[in-house]
Structure formats: C-alpha cells, structure tokens
Symmetry: C2
Subunit: 364 residues, 2 copies
C-alpha cells in the first residue's frame, strides 16, 4: 500500500502553460491555423505531459497484462480459458496481433503474467514459427486466475492492491530504463465480463447498456452474461466510491495491472495510450482513484464493445481511431501510437512560415 500511496502523491495535473507554448509553435508551421486537427492536440499534450518543448518518443513499449477469470465457469466466453496461456506463448513467439502492430509502430511488447492460471516456470518458448520479434515475458503473478465473482469476491483487497502495485513497479522500472511512452494491453479469456461489471458500477449505467458479445458469444449467452454480471454485483455489493473495492470484488488481475501502470505512468510524467474495452476499465479504475491521470492518457480507439464509450465519456476522453476493433492485447493502442507519433513529427519536422518563405498573411 506504501508504493500505491507514494505514487498517488506524485501524480500532479499537467502544467497547462505548455499547451500554449506548443500551440504557438504549431501556429507558425506552414499550414492554415489548426488544420492538422487532432495531430496538433496530440503534440500539445505530449509537450505538456513531458514539460519538454521538443519531446522524444524513441523508446516505446506496450504492456500486455495476462490473467484468467473464475467467472468463465459461468459460460460467459466463446473460448476455453486454456487459450490465455496459449496466447501468452503466441505473444512470446511474435505471432499475435499485438506483435505485428507493435513492430509496425516501433514498440516493444512486454507480456506480464499477473494472473494466468498456468505455471509458466521458465517458459520453453517454441522456435519462431512466423512473424518477427516476440514479446518479453515478465512473471509477476498475483493470483492464479481470479475467483468466480458470481459466488464471491474475485480478489481480496490485498490482491487488488498488489495488482495495482505490479503495474506501478513496471511503470517505475521502464521509466528508469528510459522508455518515453507506454501503451496498455490485455489478454484474458472472459475479461469483458469483469470489464462490463466495472463499467456498470463506476458509470452507474445498467448492465445491459455496457455489456456485449466479447469474442463473439451467441445472443442467448449474452443474456446469461448480463444476468451473471447483475447477480455478481448484487452479491458482492462493490462500493462505487471505492474503485479498489470494485476492482477486488468484480474486477480482474490484468485490469488491476493496467490501472497501476496508468497511475505509475502519470506519477513518472509519461504518456500512456489506453487500448480498448478492458484497458479502459483499468483506466477508469485509475481515474476513480486519482482523476488527474486523464492528463497523461490517450484513448486509442472506440471499441465494438458497447460499454466502452460510456467509460471514455466519464473520463472526458475522445478516442483516436474507430476501426471496429475488438481484439484487445494492445492492438488499438499500437495503431494509435502511429497517429500520436505523427502529431509529434508534425510538431518537430515541419518548417515554419519564416523558414519556408511562405506567406502567412491572411487576406480575409
């Protein structure tokens, strides 16, 4: 709890003066005022977060937190939970969606076992079959899968805090190693179910308005999933004013890790890109603990999951992309990284009117 409290004390709202400094430079570049829209917003935000007039994003990393969920016993997912460790191996070999898109964005992938129900030990990684560089495995297991929150709390308060601290430790460690931008990602069969539960409790929306089909369940299974979440919330009665209580009772280990990473990013003054539905549930936990974290966040994309928008709205974040994605892993965040990078390149590489000898006279 000390690490968590210390981290919260270190999170400050960003200095808005840097927005103005950045905008003045953007307004001198050879383009009509404001004509690069959100790319300009990304540049301003990077300058303000880093308090650096010329930010550098040379070292980028996506953290894909993996965990299992006791709630899968209730038949809420289209895939068996064995897929979670199988996909961890896929991440390590470089064949998963996040590997492809992180390579495209020039980012490394760190795969964090924070709650998988599998003993990886010293994982014997099979030889590379396809793709390129794989992820780096980090073992920081807090639970071996959460408990079934249809029958009782998913985690104890201690476990929930430990998950947050795993995220914080990673943020602190990678900040020290000189990484300049973080992205979040998740892997965990069944994890749209706790994410919908978190969305319902923390936005106050009814469960059916924030619950959809995850990896692709039937209409009938969706009704069951909604009933399971409603019952889990009734049974555990999480305190909507205490996000850690919500995380413990109806959340998940990887969601806690993501929340902690975001808190740690903010405490270190590092921008963090929030992937889709599950990552946003983690972001909402972080926001409810410390609202200033939104200053450090970029919302990557608008997921197909219906509960996503309500959570982003609650935090006042507007997604960068809308490409009908619903894979998770950090894939949307890796794509958004390319757009954020574009904003920074515009800011740093474009010529000013003066440098280019272009008239900035506005005639009407």
């Amino acid at each position: 709890m000390d690490l968590l409290n210390e981290t919260l004390i270190n999170i400050k709202p960003i200095n808005a003066e840097f927005y103005a400094v950045a905008q003045r430079h953007l307004d001198n570049l050879t383009k009509p005022l404001g004509s690069l829209g959100r790319l300009e917003e990304f540049a301003r935000k990077l300058v303000a977060i880093t308090e650096n007039k010329s930010p550098i994003l040379d070292k980028k990393v996506v953290f894909t937190f993996a965990g299992d969920h006791g709630i899968t016993e209730e038949g809420v997912s289209a895939y068996p939970k064995e897929v979670t460790p199988q996909m961890v191996f896929n991440f390590l070999r470089g064949g998963a969606g996040i590997n492809v898109l992180a390579r495209h964005a020039g980012a490394e992938v760190i795969v964090v076992d924070i709650g998988v129900d599998h003993d990886f030990g010293n994982p014997p990684i099979p030889p590379l079959v396809k793709g390129g560089e794989g992820g780096l495995f980090v073992s920081m297991k807090v639970v071996r899968g959460t408990r079934n929150f249809a029958k009782g709390p998913a985690m104890t308060m201690d476990e929930a805090v430990k998950c947050l601290e795993v995220g914080i430790e990673l943020a602190n460690g990678y900040a020290k190693k000189g990484y300049k931008i973080f992205a979040t990602g998740d892997m965990g069969i069944g994890n749209t179910t706790p994410s919908s539960a978190i969305a319902a409790v923390l936005t106050g929306k009814p469960v059916p308005e924030v619950t959809s089909k995850g990896t692709g369940i039937s209409d009938e299974s969706l009704q069951k999933k909604i009933a399971v979440i409603e019952e889990g919330i009734r049974l555990n009665n999480p305190d909507s004013d205490d996000a850690i209580d919500v995380l413990a009772k109806v959340g998940g280990a990887e969601i806690g890790g993501i929340a902690g990473l975001i808190l740690g990013a903010a405490a270190n003054g590092i921008p963090v890109i929030i992937d889709g539905f599950i990552s946003t549930a983690g972001a909402l936990i972080a926001y409810c603990i410390k609202p200033e974290v939104t200053d450090y966040m970029f919302a990557a994309h608008n997921s197909v999951e219906i509960g996503h928008e309500a959570m982003l709205e609650k935090m006042g974040l507007k997604p960068i992309l809308d490409l009908d994605l619903r894979l998770g892993e950090g894939t949307g965040a890796a794509l958004a990284m390319l757009m954020i990078d574009a904003g920074l390149k515009i800011y740093k590489e474009m010529a000013t009117f003066n440098e280019a000898g272009v008239s900035d006279e506005i005639i009407n």
Copy 2:
C-alpha cells in the same frame, strides 16, 4: 482522348472471389473471427485489387497535384494565391506537412505542377532548412491557373481531358516503375471552391450544404463563397451527367489530375488512397466517368469540410480516419496508408491457430 478511352476500357471490377480467399486466411489467424474489424477489410481489398494472395506494398507514393484558381479573384480564400508556388517549394525542400507524414508512412512524394500560375523553370531549390527528404518535382503544366469560373468556364474541354491524361500518364509511369500503392494529394489556394461546386453538381445537394470555410475564412466570406459558387454553376450550367464537362466548367487542374491518377490506378490494378475534400472531388469525377474505380479506392479520412461526407456517401466509401484534418496535400492519405499497411501486416505476419498451437474451439 485516346489515352483516356483506352484507360477506361482497361478498368474492370475486381474479382470478388479474392475477398473470400483472403477472408479464409484471416479467419485462421490467432484472434476471434472478425475482431480486427477494418484492418481485415483493408487486407481483403488489397488481395482482391492485386489478385495476389500475398500482396507487397514496398514502394509507395503520394502524388501532390498543384494548381491555381482564377476564382480566387472573388475573395473566396484566406490566403493569397502566391502561396501555391511557395508551398510547392516547401514540398520540394521537405518541410511541409505531407513531407513529414509521407516519411512517417514510408512513401515518396511527387509534386506535380499541373496548373500553377508560376514559371518554375528549372527550380532552384533552396537548401534544406528543416525536415528530411523532400518531394520530386514533375512539370506537367496544362494551364497557368484556371480561369475565374464566376465569369466563364474554368477550363476548356480539351484542357480538362489533358488534366485527366496527366494523371493517367503518371499512374502508368509509376506502375511501370514498380510502385505498389498510390495516394492522392492537392495544393491550390482557392481549391475548396471548385471542389464544393463539383460536390453540389454531382451529388445534387444545394451549395450551402457542401460548402464550408476552407483554410479558415470569415462567416461573411463564406456567404460570399456560396454565392460565387451558385452563380458560377448557374452561369456555366455544367451537365451533371458529364463529369468531364463539370471538371472543365467549375473544376480545377489539380482536381482533374487526381481524377486521372485514380482512373490510371484502377486500370493498372493499383490501390489508391483518396485524401480529403479536394481529392474526393477528383475521385467523384473519376467515379462518375467509371463507377468501377471505387473497387480500387480507399477513403483516407473524414475532412472537416462539410461537403466531404456527401461525396463519400455517393461513392459508397467509408473513411478510415476522423482526425479533424483540413490541410490537404495528401496528409490524411499518408496517415491512412499506415492503417492499410497495418491491415496487410496483420494478414501476412500473424500466426494461424495451427501454427501457434492455440485452440480455435468455440465453446458457445
């Protein structure tokens, strides 16, 4: 006219069987079915366009067509028309928005003088001030600025056809050189005005519904711009069933070049990314000449210009990005190229369930 007619004969609808071939492969990759949304759409479309199960997009090029507009005499733009050649020099030095974003996307920039009211001769390019690699200059001037369409046709029919053929020649030439994907871009002070005129005539919408503030004119100037366009359409009476007549009477040289490039891309089986409002006016000209061209097009983004959406809807295209851009030059197309590339990388680099040893059993 021979080159144009020959090109039109060579444009075939794409073979939809390749969509199914591509989708079968996508469905074997280690992700829930369809969970990469539009990235999967991009991959399918690339496979179908190229009729290649493993397309390669190693050589990419953005064509930025530059032209001036007699209509600027009417005070429809915020900037003086001298900015067009000044920006051409900026493109050649590498300091403009399109240079930055094309470098980010791994694409070259070809700057085509198709109608600038300036004699570039052998342009003495000033030394590089800022940025990186600049664009390559191509002189294919058809007009030295269009005529003021508030007073008569902007171009003759011969000039309009010549503009289309410039685009086709470039497409043929760069197809022969082995380029695999094209993007369109524009530079021309005043060119939202002919683009709105084209949008009004070819979508049938009233001028005020397809006209907005371009680079940033006042409310008063916007009313004047709308009146100028309405009067120009009344005076010239372009035939909405003859897109070349529309291009000649109320269009622009760079818009014609873009339309021709798109026709040439389709005839060569090369995917082409359409930038924002001006490029989409060119695309709509191409579409009205030969509707099959949409099979080869990707719509890059949703521009701030209000007439953009109506044109995309008419062609049945859905934009990839929505980042409040209104710069033109090809900037939105360069950004979209990164997303299209992402779709192709997913298609080619992800492991299948079988390769990765991941269960594809769906349990409900």
